[in-house]
Symmetry: C2
Subunit: 192 residues, 2 copies
C-alpha cells in the first residue's frame, strides 16, 4: 500500500518531494508530445523512480493525486457555516463544469487508478483530501447528520452518472434538487 | 429517432416483432462463438435488418432494450404500497447484485448505447420501462414528493458509482442509508 500522502508534515521533506513530483507531472501534461511515464517524471523532478513507485504505487495513482490537488485548487469547496448557501454555490459550479471540456476528468482519473492499483482501497487515500473538503463544509455549519462521504453520495454520484450518460444535469433546473436532498436528511435529523 | 417501443400495443404486431428480435438476441448471446450483429439478429429472427435499424437505431440500443427487459424480469421492483419495505427489499437485491458477476451490465449497456447513438436522448425511451417500475413503487405508496427519476438518482447513482470504483456498497451496512435518504425527502414533504 502506498504511503498515505496526508500523513506527511506540511512543509517537510516528504511534502517537498511530493510537490516536486506533482510539478513535474503538470509540466509533462502541459507539453505536447511529452510522454507522461514514471521514468519521465523521475527525470524531470529529480526524484528517484523507486521513490515514486513506493509512494504512489502506479502512474495512475500519481495522476489521481495531481487531479485531486488541481481540483482542490480550481474548485475550492466553500465552508462559510451556511450549508444551504455553500452547497448551492458548490453544486452550481460542479454542474456547470460537468457540461464543459475536461468534464469527468476526476472520475476518469479515479477509474484509471482503480484499474491499475492492486486494490481499490489503495486509491482511497488519494481521494481523501477532497472528502475532507466536503467534511469541512459540514463542520463549518456544525452539521453531524451526514458526513463528507454521504454528501458526495447525494450530490456527486447523480451528477457523475448523468454526465457519463451524456445527459448532464442542468445547473439552472437540477442543482436545487441535489441540494434539497442533502438538506432533507440534515433537517430531519435536526427536527428529531 | 427510433420508434418509441413503449408505444406499441401489447400483443400487437409491433410487440410480436420486438419479442422475436429480443429472443434472437438472447439466443445469439447464449451461444459461444456466435457474433451478435444486426444481420445475425435479422437472420435468426426473420425480421428484416432495415426494420431493426429503423426501430432501434443501433445494435447497442437493441442490446440495451434486451438488458432492460431482462432486468425487469430478473429483478422486479416491488410495489406493495409500503415504500420503506419495497425500497429496503429492492436496495438489498441491487447492492447484492452489484457485488456479483454481471454487475454493472445495465450501466455498461447504457454507456455503449449512448456512445453509438446519434444523441443520448435516443436511449431514454429504452430505459423508460425501468423508470416506470420505480414510478409504480411510488404510485403504490401514493408518494408524490419524488418521482421515479429522483428515486434512481438517490438510490442507483451512488450504488453504480461505488461499484464502478471497485468499492461496491455493502448490502448489510450501506443499504439502509440509501433508503433513509429517499425517505427523508418523502417524509419532509408529508410533514409540510
Amino acid at each position: 500500500m502506498p504511503e498515505v500522502t496526508g500523513s506527511s508534515r506540511p512543509g517537510g521533506r516528504t511534502a517537498r518531494t511530493r510537490e516536486s513530483v506533482l510539478a513535474a507531472v503538470r509540466q509533462l501534461l502541459a507539453e505536447q508530445n511529452a510522454e507522461v511515464t514514471v521514468p519521465a517524471v523521475a527525470a524531470r523532478s529529480g526524484v528517484h523512480a523507486t521513490t515514486i513507485y513506493r509512494r504512489w504505487g502506479t502512474l495512475e495513482s500519481l495522476l489521481l493525486d495531481v487531479a485531486v490537488a488541481d481540483t482542490q485548487a480550481s474548485s475550492p469547496v466553500p465552508a462559510t457555516g451556511d450549508l444551504r448557501a455553500d452547497l448551492t454555490s458548490y453544486v452550481a459550479r460542479l454542474l456547470t463544469s460537468l457540461r464543459g471540456p475536461g468534464a469527468l476528468g476526476m472520475l476518469r482519473a479515479m477509474l484509471a487508478a482503480v484499474r491499475t492499483a492492486d486494490s481499490a482501497m489503495e486509491i482511497v487515500d488519494f481521494v481523501q483530501p477532497r472528502v475532507d473538503d466536503f467534511q469541512a463544509m459540514l463542520d463549518a455549519a456544525e452539521v453531524t447528520a451526514i458526513d463528507g462521504y454521504r454528501l458526495i453520495e447525494i450530490v456527486l454520484a447523480p451528477a457523475y452518472l448523468r454526465a457519463q450518460l451524456g445527459i448532464p444535469l442542468d445547473p439552472a433546473t437540477d442543482g436545487e434538487r441535489l441540494v434539497d436532498t442533502a438538506l432533507a436528511v440534515v433537517e430531519r435529523d435536526q427536527a428529531e
